[in-house]
Symmetry: C2
Subunit: 223 residues, 2 copies
Amino acid sequence: MKQAMSRRERTERQILDALEAQIRETGMGGVGVNAIANRAGVSKELIYRYFDGMPGLLLAWMQEQDFWTSHHDLLTSGESSQQSPGTLVLSMLKAQIEALGKNETLREVRRWELIEVNEVTAKLANRREKAARAFIDRIDGLTPNMDVPAVVSIMLAGILYLMLRSKTESHFLGVPLRTEEGWQRLSAALEQIVQAFPPELNGDSLAALESGREPKKRSSKEQ
Amino acid sequence: MKQAMSRRERTERQILDALEAQIRETGMGGVGVNAIANRAGVSKELIYRYFDGMPGLLLAWMQEQDFWTSHHDLLTSGESSQQSPGTLVLSMLKAQIEALGKNETLREVRRWELIEVNEVTAKLANRREKAARAFIDRIDGLTPNMDVPAVVSIMLAGILYLMLRSKTESHFLGVPLRTEEGWQRLSAALEQIVQAFPPELNGDSLAALESGREPKKRSSKEQ
DNA sequence: CAAGAATGTGACCGCATGGTCACCTTGCAT
DNA sequence: ATGCAAGGTGACCATGCGGTCACATTCTTG
């Protein structure tokens, strides 16, 4: 029994690792049952037996990735609530740069999410949006007079795009996307934007309380 | 002779139109010589004869699109130099939202540019980056003390990502991506960001002159 | 040991793809 | 009218894909 499990688990590992490597090297466009099986050095039949085909394999692989949840501490920790909304947003953005910057596979998956919608990408999107919303809602609650989700959306989406774009283009508006220097400029730009915000976002809690009387007039059907 | 040209040009049109429709409906992933020929109601052989295969067809189609150059006026016009850098940036960003928002085909092409690099995507990227750089350099020259390209990169990349993302996800950080209301919030957020900038970007030309003595200390090998 | 389940392989099928070919038809010019 | 090039078609080929099947081997358990 232990041997049987071990044998099977070993080949499952080979398959999962082959999937990861394939995604990293060819992107999702090069992912198929033939390519994965060949790379794993195994018969493709086993992909169907053990994972019930490519969708199941992708789900299984996704499950053991902690990309999406590894920074859960940043979103829910108690200590972080001590910090001002501005620095909280900033550290979230920089964590995203860090996580995406060192993980080509993750970037490929996120490119994939941009062009195809299926059960896998839908599941990924749901997880992510749920976590992201928990984060942003806490900050938004503290900061009236400003559409925090919209502003942070632009900044977060901006670094996402530039991260993904770095694969196919070396510069964007003249800013280099493949050098440390370029990303330091972009990080600095994020800081400039955040620091230009109203004082209640940057630690002036008195101003935050004072301006708290004005309610937001945002649409109610935001879901 | 006139008839011959007309006949050929007519079928060339059919093919080009079929390509456009195919991109719009299936994205670049669904573009192939068989699909295009069928949709055009023509033999695929003609694609090879008239366009020398798919790459040539794409180049030809690209050539007659004015996406990338249609807003050339915004980038080079003389009247626009009357406006402050801030409003100039803002109107550029809104023009991008407008152009992308009403053109699904364009969005598909830009998704394609994110995942594949070949002679076509390279050519597109070059054209775009050249025009964008001409725009940003004029503004950057007027505004020391701030890394304008980096800040504008984040905003422009942000709306690009959100535009592309709207295909596969309806919300981002709770902001709806498929409603007028959502995009008005995002436009408003862009305005907030720009207005929070130093005064020399928003029409205070005196302040611009005063702060002009401090030179930028940005890397010189930006190209 | 024997039976049977688990593991693994290679061949095979149907299908769609990109690409080429021979052939037919239309139109024009001598 | 004859001849010839341009325009257009359908069949064909090799290839790679996802998917299934029959079969061999190995392990576990009666």
